[in-house]
């Protein structure tokens, strides 16, 4: 497998070069934090970012999206899949492993017996340039959930091997395409680069220790159904939904019809929804399957660590830590998992913290 290196200080030039063919998005500063945003000024893109407020799921499942337009006169329906495919191709620059895993998880949801043509269209037009995390981020615990590495889901993947260089893996023909149009920035990796890459991985594993084991989490949850922790958390949680919105694997959505002011056209719009909201399990006749706010918080955990195993074959958490950062009440999923772990006696806890 051919690998490459690229100079860090050439990244802004690379971005400029790619802009002709692609719309480039990357971690850009916003007030006290970072967000994935159009890289208007490539010198402002910061690949040393800790985390972003929102995960890149927004490029695959926008927070609000028109699914189809219906003419109310003659009921002709036009979906918007083609509009997505017609967009300028996108590059997501500097996506961490946890987020690539998040996209892979969503792909499991939006594929299957019924595939979701919108998600698939976004996937079609999006090139992902991944970025290895060699240092832990403030709230993340990716290694505890085995999401600090990726097997696939990226087109190029960068690993910092020195103060001046990244090591580059090519993950797909789409990644190859970038090498073709911007070949002047990529050098074929030499032997010592390969050695530096191995050293970088070592460093990564030293830097991302793990004290949390979630192998038996679904069984742990079985045991914890009546635990006091849910009431305790329920008291703190304001069901504001922040955790679910920023999460790279939360995908619940609502669908609504909206008409235009001349009432000649209707749009069917899907919008992010969260299981923490009052309406989420509310049905006609005002029957609510999860009326109590704490029941909804608890449900989020059960869906992530139990339901998702059934539906998608893996837990719905990549350990990105965003929900911890986002929660105004200071609820930490990591702490909750630690506490639940105590339930499961057989789960050994090695020395050293997370």
């Amino acid at each position: 497998m051919q690998t490459y290196t690229i100079r860090k200080d050439e990244i802004p030039k690379l971005v400029e070069a790619l802009k002709e063919e692609y719309e480039v998005f990357g971690p850009m500063p916003k007030r006290t934090s970072y967000v994935f945003a159009p890289v208007t000024d490539p010198t402002k893109m910061n690949l040393d970012y800790d985390s972003t407020i929102m995960s890149p799921k927004k490029y695959y499942l926008p927070s609000s999206q028109t699914l189809m337009e219906v003419s109310l006169k003659n009921a002709t329906i036009e979906d918007t899949v083609k509009d997505i495919l017609d967009q300028k191709p996108k590059i997501l620059f500097g996506v961490h492993s946890c987020d690539i895993n998040g996209i892979n998880f969503l792909n499991r949801v939006f594929d299957g017996k019924y595939d979701d043509p919108y998600f698939q269209a976004y996937k079609e037009i999006t090139t992902v340039i991944g970025l290895n995390c060699l240092e832990p981020c403030k709230y993340g615990f990716c290694r505890a959930v085995n999401k600090n590495f990726v097997l696939d889901g990226y087109d190029l993947f960068l690993t910092e091997i020195s103060d001046t260089h990244y090591y580059v893996h090519v993950g797909s023909p789409r990644g190859d395409r970038i090498l073709t149009i911007a070949h002047e920035f990529f050098k074929e990796a030499k032997e010592e680069d390969g050695a530096a890459f191995t050293a970088a991985l070592h460093k990564k594993h030293e830097n991302l220790p793990v004290a949390l084991h979630i192998d038996n989490i679904h069984e742990t949850l079985d045991l914890a159904w009546d635990d006091a922790i849910w009431d305790e958390l329920g008291e703190k949680c304001m069901n504001c939904g922040s955790c679910a919105l920023v999460c790279p694997t939360c995908y619940c959505f609502d669908v609504q019809d909206e008409v235009d002011l001349s009432i000649s056209k209707a749009e069917r719009v899907r919008k992010w929804d969260t299981c923490l909201f009052y309406d989420f399990a509310l049905v006609a006749g005002n029957h609510n399957f999860r009326e109590d706010p704490p029941a909804r918080l608890k449900y989020r955990f059960y869906h992530k660590f139990r339901g998702a195993i059934h539906d998608q074959g893996e837990i719905a958490c990549t350990g990105c830590g965003r929900c911890i950062d986002a929660c105004p009440a200071g609820i930490s999923i990591k702490d909750v998992l630690f506490r639940l772990q105590e339930y499961w006696a057989a789960s050994p806890t090695p020395q050293g913290g997370l």
């Binding site: 699914l67 189809m68 219906v70 109310l72 009921a75 329906i77 979906d79 899949v81 949801v109 939006f110 299957g112 017996k113 019924y114 595939d115 979701d116 043509p117 159904w225 995908y251 619940c252 959505f253 609502d254 669908v255 609504q256 019809d257 008409v259 009432i263 209707a266 069917r268 899907r270 929804d273 299981c275 989420f280 399990a281 509310l282 049905v283 006609a284 006749g285 029957h287 399957f289 999860r290 029941a295 449900y299 059960y302 869906h303 139990r306 339901g307 195993i309 059934h310 539906d311």
Partner: protein
């Protein structure tokens, strides 16, 4: 069995015309829809217990169980209660109006597995809508199934749906037995009074080689199941159709998650054995 209608975009409904409206009660009406495209009309088939998503463009979309039986092709019958925006808009449709239908979704009842068994139907109120599909299916394939007992309960006599079939059609089918009850006493009502479980004392139910199919308001399940278990029904001989909020119908939006399963994909029909293991199911 089922032919899957293959579509590029599962979210886009097919256009269907309302061809008949029959008011059943103050709030419930039976709607007969027919797909506009003949091709879809031919291909569209379903399993009793499955549901479709009906669109009133500009208002919204909502799930409804198919109340007709696939043994009688042509129209899709939906028995719909007026409770909110979409259902009110459906009720306001005039014959000839076009709306959207997509589906069928969900698993439906295990019609093959049920072959050769006696069947006990326990329906509450509008819960008869999906069960009617099974009942008429069984009526049309009479040889495949054993004895049929139908328990139907409603709050008030005037709130019963499909009264004609309950009173005139089904009792006349060989080996069919129908019992009804209402919750509240009513002067013109001659029949049984009490919740649907009181019918267990009116009519002896033999659990041997019998499967029970239940559909009704959420509160009903607990009590009916308790009685069925007492009568000796095995947990997997009791079939329930669950209701949850639904948006997509195809396993994406996650609203209908119950325990670790999805009502729209793994259900809406579950055996009691399964349902018992699904947290918060009933």
């Amino acid at each position: 069995m089922q032919v899957q209608l293959k579509k590029d975009n599962e979210y886009v409904p097919h256009i269907a015309k309302l061809i008949k409206k029959t008011q059943m009660t103050e709030k419930e009406t039976l709607f007969e829809f027919m797909f506009e495209e003949p091709e879809i009309r031919d291909l569209f088939t379903y399993n009793p217990g499955q549901f479709v998503q009906v669109s009133i463009f500009g208002i919204g979309e909502a799930p409804f169980s198919i109340s007709s039986t696939p043994t009688r092709k042509g129209v899709i019958e939906l028995g719909i209660r007026k409770t909110g925006d979409v259902t009110e808009a459906i009720h306001a449709l005039e014959v000839g109006a076009r709306s959207g239908i997509r589906g069928p979704y969900g698993n439906g009842f295990p019609m093959n597995k049920m072959k050769g068994h006696n069947l006990l139907f326990v329906a509450g109120g509008i819960g008869l809508v999906p069960l009617r599909s099974v009942i008429n299916y069984v009526a049309d394939r009479r040889d495949d199934y054993g004895k049929v007992t139908i328990f139907y309960g409603a709050c008030l006599p005037e709130e019963r749906v499909f009264v004609d079939e309950i009173e005139k059609v089904w009792p006349n089918i060989p080996d069919f037995e129908v019992h009804q009850t209402v919750d509240e006493c009513h002067t013109t009502w001659q029949g049984n009074v009490g919740v649907v479980t009181t019918l267990f004392s009116v009519c002896a139910v033999d659990s041997a080689n019998t499967m029970a199919l239940i559909c009704g308001p959420p509160v009903m399940y607990k009590f009916v199941v308790r009685d069925l278990l007492k009568l000796g029904f095995a947990r997997d001989e009791i079939l329930l159709s669950l209701e949850r909020r639904m948006k997509c119908g195809i396993g994406k939006c996650a609203h209908c998650q119950v325990g670790h399963k999805l009502t729209c994909m793994d259900g809406p029909v579950f055996t009691y054995f399964e349902a018992e293991r699904l947290m918060e199911s009933i």
